[in-house]
């Protein structure tokens, strides 16, 4: 068994949150860019 210490657990959590925010931003960006392209083209 490998014991993770508190700092490592906190670092993992922080990395996971960063990943999640980045992916959420990408999803929102695709949605907004898509609608905007439709509006601008029409």
């Amino acid at each position: 068994m490998q014991q993770l210490n508190r700092d490592e657990i906190a670092a993992r959590r922080s990395r996971a949150l960063k990943t999640a925010w980045l992916l959420a931003a990408v999803a929102i960006l695709i949605f907004v860019a898509f609608i905007l392209s439709g509006v601008l083209n029409s």
């Binding site: 068994m1 490998q2 014991q3 996971a16 999640a20 992916l23 999803a27 695709i30 898509f34 609608i35």
Partner: protein, 547 residues
């Protein structure tokens, strides 16, 4: 970091020790409504998917009953169209996709040695959006204007001619999309950040790999669908003309956009199936998976190609010859990585010490019948031939072969494979095999004649048809009724396994099984892998892939 060196059997005793400190929430609401535990949320997803499977299946029974013979017998044509549309929306977004998310929730943390999903509270939210989305979608059937009836593709101008209930459909699709995106974010965040030390990417089980790639597909295409239906909404209710030809809009543009989402969506439903089958076949062939790395690259190739082939769904709309040629050849290219997969599954079985428990039967059924669906897909990719097949029952036969004995059989295989792990009890092998054989025979009676109907020219999405199609339709409906009824056996097997079975499952369950989930006891403790496991050749299937 302090490292304790232990091996498989000691993991199990440690996990059993964890079990003494389970800290399961007490009370029904606390346990299920507010849960942040990946196993509980996985169970919620799977139960919800099963409910939706039977809801969508009931609609399929209405469709097959009406088509049992020519003429209009049971339902009005408009209600028939609502049934075909709702059946598809419910099966795709309510049954197959949530079922795979349920598997992801249960298995990914167990397979990579993580204590839970990376974002447990968002995980809870991802699930609990779904019942509201589908309540909203199903409620349209009771509204004056009825449910959506333009097909799951929601093509304008037909979809724009629906009534007020269309807004409910669009919001339901939005909510399903939000749920899927949040689920995908969680899967990626978990796999990228929560793996046990030593679990490198190329040691991950194939199921985890296929889900990682699926999650990226979902994040890329669900916002596109959300954007497209938002534009439909504003066209319908706010006088815009994105897709309304009368106002200068372009309905064909919607088809391009829809299939830019729709084709990857097919792979979203089938890639996790590839992963499950890649776990099951090595276990029951008692051999390592043939060509693990090739399988990973083939999955990624299929995902990439799925983005650049969408217009093969709309050859008949008309496009430049170069466009037709490009989409035809690009579509055919998908057969290469898919062929790699089928070859590797067969090679894994080759000279293996195979046994045929229910999960293996469903996995082999998947390989054979999915391949039939793949081959009819190749036929549809040929532009000149597609002009004949388009919008006929040949297309219906093709995608049902991919999705029912394809994706649904893999779901069944996975359920039988991991059910003893999840519940701690063995299911009834006898009834599992009965379920498989009735399903495998009836699904072919149901869908194979539809190839002939399509080749003979029977159009899809019609409640009545020419008498020349009567015999094959009757055979197909009989197959449908048997297939539908046989799924009740599955429910019986699950209920028996959970509540009645007295045969306890061991930690490893299957003799040939290898992977981190099998070093835990069955059922695994409520909180597992609080201490990460050691990753070595005794605990993971692909340790030799380490570079």
């Amino acid at each position: 970091m302090s490292i304790e060196l232990t091996h498989g059997h000691e993991h199990e005793s440690h996990a059993a020790h964890d079990d003494h400190h389970d800290h399961k929430p007490t009370g029904f609401l606390n346990r299920w409504l507010f849960t942040t535990n990946h196993k509980d949320i996985g169970t919620l997803y799977l139960v919800f998917a099963l409910l939706m499977f039977f809801t969508g299946g009931a609609m399929a029974m209405v469709i097959r009953a009406e088509l049992f013979m020519p003429g209009l017998q049971l339902v009005e044509p408009d209600f028939f169209n609502q049934m075909t549309t709702m059946h598809a929306l419910i099966m795709v977004f309510g049954a197959v996709m949530p079922a795979w998310v349920g598997f992801a929730n249960w298995q990914i943390p167990l397979m990579i040695g993580a204590p839970d999903m990376a974002l447990p509270r968002m995980n809870n939210w991802s699930f609990w959006i779904l019942p509201f989305a589908f309540t909203m979608l199903l409620s349209t059937l009771f509204m004056d204007s009825g449910g959506p009836a333009a097909g799951w593709t929601l093509y304008p101008p037909l979809s724009l001619q629906g009534g007020q209930s269309f807004a409910f459909v669009v919001f339901a699709v939005h909510m399903m999309g939000i749920s899927s995106i949040m689920g995908s974010i969680n899967v990626i965040a978990t796999i990228m950040n929560m793996r046990a030390p030593g679990m490198t990417l190329l040691k991950m089980p194939l199921f985890v790999w296929t889900w990682l790639i699926t999650a990226f597909l979902l994040i890329a295409v669900m916002p596109v669908l959300a954007g497209a239906v938002t534009m439909l909404l504003t066209d319908h209710f706010f006088g815009t003309s994105f897709f309304n030809a009368a106002g200068g809009g372009d309905p064909v543009m919607f088809q391009h956009i829809f299939w830019f989402f729709g084709h990857p969506e097919v792979y979203i439903m089938i890639l996790p199936a590839f992963g499950v089958v890649s776990e099951i076949i090595p276990t029951f062939a008692r051999k390592p998976l043939f060509g693990y790395t090739a399988m990973v690259y083939a999955t990624a190739s299929i995902a990439f190609l799925s983005f650049i082939v969408w217009a093969h769904h709309m050859f008949t709309v008309g496009m430049p010859l170069t466009g037709e040629l490009y989409f035809m050849y690009a579509t055919m290219l998908i057969a290469v990585p898919t062929g790699v997969k089928v070859f590797n599954w067969v090679s894994t079985m080759w000279q293996g010490s195979m046994t045929f428990e229910t999960p293996m039967l469903f996995a082999i059924g998947f390989v054979v019948l999915f391949t039939i669906g793949g081959l009819s897909g190749l036929m549809l990719a040929i532009t000149a031939a597609d002009l004949q097949y388009h919008d006929t029952y040949f297309v219906v036969a093709h995608f049902h072969y991919v999705l029912v004995p394809g994706s649904v059989f893999a779901l069944m295989a996975g359920a039988y494979y991991w059910l003893p792990k999840w519940t701690g009890h063995m299911y009834s092998e006898k009834w599992g095999k009965i379920h498989f054989w009735i399903s495998a025979i009836s699904v072919n009676i149901l869908f194979f004649p539809q190839h002939y109907l399509g080749l003979a020219g029977m159009p899809r999405r019609i409640p009545d048809y020419s008498t020349q199609f009567a015999d094959f339709n009757m055979i197909s409906s009989i197959g449908g009724f048997i297939f539908g009824a046989s799924q009740l056996i599955f429910v019986g097997v699950i209920v028996h396994c959970v509540y009645k079975s007295r045969q306890a499952a061991s930690g490893r369950v299957w003799e040939g099984a290898k992977g981190l989930e099998w070093i835990l006891p069955s059922p695994p403790p409520y909180h597992s892998f609080n201490t990460p496991p050691v990753i070595d050749a005794t605990t993971v299937a692909h340790a030799e892939q380490a570079h």
